[in-house]
Symmetry: C2
Subunit: 378 residues, 2 copies
């Protein structure tokens, strides 16, 4: 192309850089060696600047002339340069990745939480290294160590257990920021983000009392997580405060299978309560399924409530009344807390965030004719 008459400032700068290109000692390695991925030195050579200038431009650190900036950016684009994040991580001591462990990914509630966390992490350009603990605190500890060894910049953990998960978290927290999500261990010096479980259970109890329930049974996991502990305590206290008949809680695991077994336990015990309060939706789904199998109608014969509000709570028959956990806001809070620690913006004492859940009333708790809760009449 013939040179135009008009030469802008930018064009002149580019020319200067082009000329200098041969005088600089940065040169790309011979192209004959197979498929070596393009690296910073190639970009620098192509742009006619030094490696450090290229680095500065691409990382946005340090000042540089607009000409150099444009030349580097153009060269990078032309060569479709992709920085080697491993090399960058080794030098800059940050991988721009965070680790996350979950008890079981197959529990949709956790899967939805992971998805939400991933979305928020993207805003800070963090990638997610995920580990499934498969219900075992030993596996969890192993994976947490592995993640730390991988130099993730931070860790979001949904602990499998309240006591056994504590040690690995404490150790990890000595090298990188850690946030406990949804459940908390005994580690009072580690950030925690969850919901107000006491409020959640009380929302359920108020609702059931309004509907005239006086006999209520509680089905939950064994007291291994902080959530099962608080939910049980809230339930026991709540039942007493409201002058309802106390019952032995039925404790096992947060699985559908256990929900089914719980129904068998209740039937073996004789009297059917007015309502069955479950501390997890997957349990409630099992309860409803088994009740149906045994020919017991919900909500006519017994009302059932869940906890979490997973997608399928709305789809089961009857649709499940449950405590909705705001996953987006949980994920947002967890990621914000973590990023605050990683960036060093937050050096304060451990954060403890408890988001308020809300009750979603569906048919599983509404005995026909659909009773208008008395509180609404006040």
């Amino acid at each position: 192309m013939a040179p135009l008459v008009c030469t802008s400032v930018f064009d002149r700068t580019s020319e200067r850089l082009q000329r200098r290109r041969s005088s600089t000692n940065i040169k790309a390695v011979s192209p004959g060696d197979g498929h070596r991925p393009v690296q910073l030195r190639d970009v620098a050579a192509e742009a006619g600047v030094s490696i450090s200038t290229a680095s500065r431009v691409l990382t946005g650190s340090g000042r540089c002339s607009p000409g150099a900036k444009n030349a580097v950016l153009a060269a990078a684009k032309r060569l479709s340069y992709q920085p080697n994040k491993i090399a960058r991580a080794l030098r800059a001591k940050t991988t721009r990745s965070i680790g996350m462990t979950v008890p079981w990914l197959r529990n949709p509630f956790y899967a939805e939480l992971v998805e939400a966390v991933d979305v928020f992490l993207q805003r800070f350009e963090f990638d997610l290294v995920l580990a499934d603990a498969r219900g075992s605190w030993q596996d969890e500890a192993r994976r947490v160590h592995s993640l730390v060894s991988r130099r993730v910049d931070g860790l979001i953990v949904i602990p499998t257990q309240q006591t056994n998960s504590a040690e690995a978290l404490a150790e990890a927290n000595r090298s990188i920021p850690v946030v406990q999500l949804e459940y908390e261990t005994g580690n009072l010096d580690i950030d925690y983000v969850g919901i107000d479980n006491t409020l959640g259970i009380n929302l359920v109890l108020d609702h059931l009392v309004d509907l005239g329930a006086s006999s209520v049974r509680f089905v939950s996991s064994a007291i291994i997580s902080s959530a099962s502990r608080s939910r049980l305590k809230a339930f026991s206290d709540g039942v007493e405060e409201r002058g309802m008949r106390p019952h032995e809680p039925i404790l096992g695991r947060f699985t559908t299978k256990f929900g089914k077994e719980a129904v068998t336990t209740i039937l073996a015990g004789g009297a059917m309560p007015d309502a069955i309060v479950c501390a997890s939706d997957v349990v409630a789904l099992g309860v409803i399924g088994q009740l149906r199998a045994d020919g017991i109608s919900v909500p006519e014969d017994v009302m059932v409530t869940g906890f979490d509000d997973i997608v399928f709570a709305e789809l089961c028959d009857p649709p499940l009344t449950t405590v909705h956990q705001p996953r987006r806001r949980l994920a947002d809070a967890a990621v914000s807390a973590l990023v605050g620690r990683i960036s060093g913006e937050n050096r304060g004492p451990p954060t403890r965030v408890e988001l308020p859940p809300h009750l979603v009333v569906r048919r599983s708790s509404l005995r026909p004719p659909h009773v208008v809760p008395s509180s609404n009449l006040a």
Copy 2:
């Protein structure tokens, strides 16, 4: 401790190493500098050997004396040494991590697949870097690039689209092994692991024909994935082969919401078919929910079938007849294929694995009185 009379070979080796410790120039950095994580040089110093010997012992590469080996192992344990995987990755050119993208983690089928993949990866000591494409092939492409840039050793992708996902995969496949899982793009030179969709649909059709169905409607996603394409073709062909009445397929997205809308479409069209065949369980769940809302009984008024066999297929009312996809085996095959490529054991032409699904018959397809399929009478 006073020296014992008996000095074993091992003891003598240790002594020698201890003595040499002061004469070697490997020394740990002064412990006064905050909380520097223990690194290889510390282990080497503690064991009284050189860094390279320590490295050889810990990576298991290269021979070394049993004495040195024990000394290093003991030192590593004593200091609870955790190798810096970033440094190792930069030098050894392998991160021992693989990347995976899914269309939506909130779809339990994908979540279960991810869980299974994670389990199998653990056997090879690979960690999982997960990315949620959120249904967008642009996001998917971005994340794939990021994963490659992160130098994962391989990629397992559940593509969001058949055509649009192809380019990013092809490019990634130029630098690292890629396996397409569950859906395939047009890339014929990339390994693929999925199920036999044609068989799956024919299993459903045979079952429905046995039950006397002659009018069947198909609900699926738009033809953006290879699975939706094959399932639709298998359905159309199958309907014709069996001399059933052809109907316009109802195409949208693999979501519960779309399943509900599909029912509205069917009702608007007038006649209710004998059966509604869905290409995904989440769609089928939506269909069943909407039918119930509209006062239409399943399976009395219309039978419904799904595809995938997610956990909730069994829990909905009525429980859903569906095509079971063997997630474990899918994950196993995908991981095996990928590891084979990464290790270089498999340099052959692209693999194409199609696992056979099977039909799980539940109540949603059984009109009372429960008909014994005629094929069972033969």
